[in-house]
Symmetry: C2
Subunit: 400 residues, 2 copies
């Protein structure tokens, strides 16, 4: 099953089409959701408002959405949308903004508490249509039916996956809007999209060669293009490749026909919820340890990743005993991935995140409270295992 109906409108100045496009999808009265001041300072918000007005669409605004967005703003948005009789949600921003707009879109149409959708009590059966003007390539939310929201009370960061209702009708993607992203945010976004692919790549489902190749293609393209973006933030082609990679990483094309993992994401969500770290940096602090642990417990795809994506060859482990080679190839792949992330100034363990003494008991407790006895699918991780991985992630080092 693959269904990606979102209309992606890609290229320079495409935000000028936001009014006519929203109108095609039935907008009369839109709520613009956005984050910090950068969309105001850059003039983007004004351009979007002008385009809506020109197409006869009225609007209200919900600004100031922060990273790791909270239920508080969702409740506020739902009240505003009802009061103002909004019929269309327009997210101008990245994942946090889009996910807030999605939660509002579903909540407006539901009599109960929207959190029911996130804690699994109810499934979404109706929602306002959603449009996106993307400014941060990372979360892939512009082409997915998913959303992640943090409950302020108790710091539960939970995700919601819907097959269709929360998929944006359209996403306007102008790479120029990402020229001014600070290097750290650019790097975190790149890490996030890479791990979105990897959560799908690390699968035990047999016979998905084509989907494997798609995953490898997206990862290799990101690894080629990321240094260009870090070196020259105004490289249009490189920014365009990264932007499109963020969408393909998460619109389903990399997961077709297979079981997915998602353990690293869930383990990171606890870091974000408790310590408020940036999601992408939290991921790069978890994944090298997770992969190293997998070298001992399910090496198969880690070794394939090392060969096909990181280009590790038999020459790189020359002289090793034949039985030891797959493990050495796999570990060399993990090291190259960690080095790649370090080259973008991303942390590759929890200490480097600025948390030298993480409360691992708390992280493990909350993880299994939220996700149940087992987390992930590539290896189904129980409490002992997730504890081992958190401990390894605390001070993972390339030199070990």
């Amino acid at each position: 099953m693959f269904h990606s109906p979102t209309e992606f409108i890609f290229g320079r100045d495409t935000e000028q089409q936001v009014g006519q496009t929203a109108k095609r999808y039935g907008a009369h009265r839109a709520m613009i959701v956005y984050g910090g001041g950068s969309v105001k300072r850059s003039g983007l918000l004004t351009r979007v408002e002008t385009a809506l007005k020109a197409s006869g669409i009225e609007h209200v605004e919900l600004g100031g959405i922060t990273p790791n967005p909270t239920d508080t703003r969702v409740y506020e948005g739902i009240d505003l949308a009802r009061k103002e009789q909004v019929d269309f949600m327009l997210a101008v921003g990245g994942g946090s903004v889009i996910d807030t707009a999605k939660a509002i879109a579903a909540g407006v149409k539901y009599d109960g508490d929207f959190w029911d959708f996130f804690c699994g009590k109810r499934t979404v059966e109706d929602a306002l249509p959603i449009g996106v003007v993307l400014t941060i390539p990372a979360a892939g939310s512009e082409g997915s039916g998913n959303a992640v929201i943090t409950k302020t009370d108790g710091l539960h960061k939970l995700s919601l996956r819907t097959p269709m209702w929360l998929r944006p009708k359209f996403a306007i993607m102008n790479p120029e809007l990402t020229f001014t992203l600070p290097p750290y945010q650019t790097a975190c976004g790149i890490a996030d999209m890479m791990v979105h692919v990897m959560e799908r790549y690390f699968s035990n489902t047999k016979g998905c060669e084509l989907t494997d190749r798609m995953c490898e293609a997206v990862l290799m393209a990101i690894i080629d293009e990321a240094p260009k973006v870090m070196h020259n933030p105004q490289d249009y082609e490189a920014r365009a490749n990264i932007m499109w990679a963020g969408t393909l990483a998460h619109n389903g094309i990399c997961g077709t026909g297979r079981e997915e993992d998602w353990a690293s994401h869930f383990m990171e969500h606890e870091l974000s919820a408790v310590y408020g770290v940036t999601h992408g940096a939290g991921l790069t602090a978890i994944v090298p340890a997770w992969m190293t642990w997998m070298c001992r417990h399910n090496i198969n795809k880690v070794e394939q990743f090392a060969r096909r994506v990181m280009g590790v060859t038999p020459n790189d482990v020359e002289g090793a005993a034949p039985g030891a080679k797959p493990r050495l190839v796999a570990l060399e792949g993990v090291r190259r991935l960690a080095r790649f992330w370090q080259s973008m100034d991303l942390p590759t363990n929890i200490t480097q995140l600025g948390i030298p003494k993480p409360d691992i008991d708390l992280l493990v407790d909350k993880l299994h409270e939220n996700k149940g006895e087992f987390v992930g699918n590539y290896v189904k991780l129980d409490r002992e295992m997730t504890r081992e991985i958190y401990v390894m992630a605390r001070d993972y080092s390339i030199d070990d």
Copy 2:
């Protein structure tokens, strides 16, 4: 711009969902379009009819659609659809059947001659909704807005590309339905999807690294899976990979953001129109010559194809002068591709197609009559150039 709204329903027994799915897309009275007797003999047609009936959808039938489908059957279908007040087109088959259904879907809603769309006089502005039950993975028509029809009078084989109107609403894809495809038809389908990717890969647009990688991923997966399918026609996973590859080859994901070529397809269409050859086999008779010609005129992507897809390494051209290496790498890649096709008993020149003395004057005349002064984009080919390539294709040999 990327918009692939088709709902792909993939897996065993999925044809049982055809009634409820067509109903979701508004079908009340459907026309089932199909080809030869195999869908009757296999019982598929009965299963589809039963599923429609169970969902309260009436139907009429248009059977016997042949490869290289003609305008005659389209006119017949348009008359039938109007008489029977059909509101939904359901194609049960491969590209020829789907393309016929698409042409009827557009023709029914148009007062003039449907051929106007194919010869470029008019653009499609309305069409009946279309659904597909796919039985031959090859043309990719199940996920595209395109169609190819041959005009019987004068043997013009022309293609129509629409952004949206002719994209199927859904495509039901059960790999088991392809188990009984004869080896030659399986091989021709594989060739067709490979060349669909290559027409997009051979592009001069700079900075499309991600799209390059997507193309390479689909091609590598096909090259891995094709021998399994040829060896064991009932290998479900391999058939599934090939089926999905045929869709991804043509739904736009391999062409995002770039100029495409299509010269090989257009050159083949003349072979099909004049000599009635199978499209896939016609392509494998043209492409090696086209690529060899490109080694002299625009080697860039041919060399990249040789390295990244066919795995040619510097070791393979050891001892050659440095300046000669790219050309030797590229030519070795073409040879490996030709050998791969030969391993599936496909022709790699026009003589092997059973046409020892092709009327090259006629082919060149008709090609430029249909397509204008220049054909293709990777190199814009004038009459002299297409003649050279047809001559090379007449007796291309790996050993030259």
